[in-house]
């Protein structure tokens, strides 16, 4: 079983649109949406939810006003400035529990926190594991880890070949959690200076965690000079550029119809994504044989 995670560094480069199309092209796979903060894959895949599990994570301090003597020690020691006027600001509280340990009158207790939901769904493309982190919650990395774990379990139970996951933007906690131990990272970039800068950083994250990467340049024709520069950069770094997808409003049209673009049109964009999937599966097949 191979796990492909789609990342980009910069947001809005086309990760979810591409994952949606890979969902339609790949066989024997489970899909995972690891962008638990602002997940969008479900909008394309129209899942019917089969399981809805609560995600309890982290704790939030609670001060009992009847016991509190307003000595102010908790306020003074909290490094996250989460206690003001003897009340806890749940959004700022990091759940460390320092206050609860030092309160001289034991007025502070830590309460479990419902941080989100994890869903297992059926789609016409196969099973989908997705999640919804509660608004302004922490621990997105832990929820991502649970999404991946559940996807892996489904892949094993059903003897599937691939896990295809839609990753979050950035380089921090949820990205690291989506990436570590995956078979391949597909990095979707665009030929803008921001896209290139962010690609370099996320590629460094892949190297840091030892995950092989492959690049896909989306909207390559909005700046062909930059596209060339990306290709040059990738070839110097020994990273394959697996596809160059042109800019086309058809992608947005397909999205409005909520269908993966490869099912909506047979144009250049779709042909390029099909070639991308062939390339990915070939590379994964080769690594399997080498092992």
């Amino acid at each position: 079983m191979k796990e492909i995670v789609v990342l980009s560094g910069k947001g809005g480069t086309g990760k979810t649109s591409i994952v949606g199309s890979l969902a339609a092209l790949a066989e024997r796979k489970v899909l995972a949406d690891c962008d638990v903060d602002a997940s969008d894959l479900h909008l394309l895949l129209k899942p019917s939810v089969k399981q809805d599990n609560e995600f309890w994570s982290g704790q939030v301090a609670h001060i009992d006003p009847d016991k509190c003597t307003q000595c102010g020690l908790c306020q003074e020691l909290c490094r996250f400035h989460a206690i003001k006027e003897f009340k806890v600001d749940a959004v700022s509280c990091e759940g460390c529990g320092f206050c609860s340990h030092i309160c001289p009158v034991e007025a502070i207790t830590m309460k479990e926190n419902l941080a989100g939901h994890l869903f297992v769904s059926e789609t016409r493309y196969g099973p989908l594991v997705h999640a919804r982190l509660g608004i302004a919650q922490e621990n997105s990395g832990k929820l991502v880890a649970q999404v991946r774990q559940r996807a892996r379990q489904i892949a094993q139970e059903q003897n599937l070949d691939y896990i295809i996951s839609d990753g979050p933007p950035g380089t921090g906690c949820p990205v690291i959690s989506s990436l570590s131990g995956a078979s391949l990272a597909l990095l979707v970039t665009e030929p803008t200076l921001s896209g290139m800068h962010d690609l370099e950083r996320v590629l460094d994250v892949c190297r840091h965690f030892g995950v092989p990467a492959m690049v896909c340049i989306n909207k390559y024709d909005i700046n062909e000079e930059n596209t060339e520069e990306i290709e040059c950069y990738c070839s110097t770094g020994g990273v394959a550029v697996a596809a160059r997808i042109p800019f086309d409003n058809i992608v947005t049209e397909a999205l409005i119809q909520r269908v993966p673009v490869v099912e909506y049109s047979d144009g250049k964009v779709s042909r390029e994504i099909r070639a991308l999937w062939r390339e990915i599966s070939n590379v994964l097949e080769e690594t399997k044989q080498r092992v």
Binding site: G9, R79, Q137, L255
Partner: protein, 288 residues
Amino acid sequence: MIISVASGKGGTGKTLVATSLALSLKDSHKVVILDCDVEEPNDHILLKPVITGNEPVNIQVPAVDEKKCNYCGKCAKVCAYHAIAVLGEHVLTFPQLCHGCGTCGYLCPEKAISEAPRQTGVVEWGHSDGVGFVRGVLTIGEAMAPPVIRKVKEHANGIGIVIRDIPPGTSCPVVEAVKGSDFCILVTEPTPFGLNDLALAVETVRKLGIPCGVVLNRAGVGDAGVEDYCRKENIPILLTIPLDTEIARLYSRGVALVEGMPQWQGRFCQLFNAIKEIVDERNRGIKR
């Protein structure tokens, strides 16, 4: 006044809006831009600032003096993040898991735990053609963005207009970056993804009690979902930017919109005036 530029969904044009807003206001106000997207900061690409200083961002992690330690295990018991463990006569620390809360050191009965800085990022500052500039950069491989964001925010001294470029999403880095703003601009695009993530971003800023308004980018393709939503939720659409290949090309080359197309400057000034009116109105309401 502190104005945040956020979005929920990535790649909708936060950086474009934040940089053009800053550049449009610099002749009439003292303006500083804070790039709080410390995982993938991009404002410097458009503003090309002169960097005049920097400082490391450290979190305080435990340093155990094993000569004093009697392996009682109290530290491991109180650590909420499993960042310190006692195994027989060994204390193991996992600095990457540590949030720097200070609980273990304070509660150690033998006073065997002091703190040592661990660098997780850097803050840089400077200026760009009359605009003050601050950005944070999270070190590659580091998970926790909020401490770096906190440090970036400390560098704005509250004079004039502060514009914060916020990371995408709705979780802790976004909350840390937006907290304390007077207003939050939400940049979106007229697609189902843009709408879905806008609704999440609206919930986030409402939870923080910060007023918001929308900038609709790449208008022209797409559907009417975002406009319908804004009408229903009573959220003003403060500026509309069309889908335009010229705008996309300028951005791809790292040219700020108001520099490549100066005719936009007036519209960004109007955007600011509309925000100022909302914030002033709200402040009057609070005072009353």
